[in-house]
Point group: C2
Chain length 168, copies 2
């Protein structure tokens, strides 16, 4: 279940995030301003701007996947300045996530996950997913959404949630 909770949801969320950025680009074009204004926007002066929110959303997904599976992750040096670069970053992480299967996570729930900032402590893989990776992923994705929303981009909950697997 660790796989189902993370990889496919992160892939879906990143596709939604990329589509949210497209709406931002359309809005900038309609209103005739440079889309980089949005990329540098934030909700508070001491908060990360949109660009950084996107980079952190990407890293949260990438590092969760790689740590749980004990596989190396591609390096992204956070140099993106433009919307196409940010969309490429998102696409790169989606491609990386797509290399995983449920089998890579067969031992993930009980694995000990560490972090240099945790002072020698650890979380189990399941705790890491439930207490850390999932809340963080949605936190930064929602903050990206809110920065766009606050600046007038016409985004709604459906853009955030994406398609639901409804059945009859």
């Amino acid at each position: 279940m660790i796989y189902d909770l993370t990889v496919p949801q992160f892939i879906k969320g990143l596709h939604n995030l990329s589509a949210l950025l497209d709406k931002g680009a359309q809005y900038a074009e309609t209103k005739k301003f440079d889309v980089e204004v949005l990329l540098n926007s934030r909700l508070a002066p001491d908060q990360f701007p949109l660009t950084r929110q996107i980079q952190i959303t990407c890293d949260t997904a990438k590092l969760c996947a790689s740590r749980l599976a004990m596989k190396d992750a591609p390096v992204h040096p956070d140099t993106e300045k433009t919307l196409p670069e940010l969309k490429a970053r998102i696409a790169s992480v989606i491609s990386y996530l797509e290399t995983f299967t449920a089998k890579d996570y067969s031992e993930a729930a009980t694995r000990h996950i560490t972090n240099p900032r945790w002072d020698g402590q650890y979380l189990t893989g399941e705790e890491f997913v439930v207490h850390h990776a999932i809340p963080n992923f949605y936190f930064h994705m929602t903050t990206a959404y809110s920065i766009l929303r606050h600046n007038g981009v016409e985004v709604g909950k459906k853009d955030y949630l994406g398609k639901m697997p409804y059945k009859r």
Copy 2:
């Protein structure tokens, strides 16, 4: 696992949300403005204000728990106007969530979850949790956080994430 993913995390998130509101109240007191200004704030003119974000966060948790376990949920008529009333609403949902145990969710993953707005379609319990309840819960909680943050309340990621179950 459906229980671990939802009930304890929602309880934790709601405690964190209540503490975020306390920080808002402290800020209002320091700056000498009425805390209801914060409760009526929003990030965009056509977005729900803080009060409604809190109510929806509460409902997302409550209805996820009740639907998955097929138990009746307490009714909350969305009449809260003040910070103590909103904190009582949060406390009421926490108390309700605390009545559940993992046993209540033993058949939840495969249960068919329906909604009047879904036009006769359904999601399995697992899909409902992963695609709907969790992303919605964090969406409204993060939006509440962002409204406070945008208005100058000194809240940070740790207030949102809360305590981590680190081990040595």
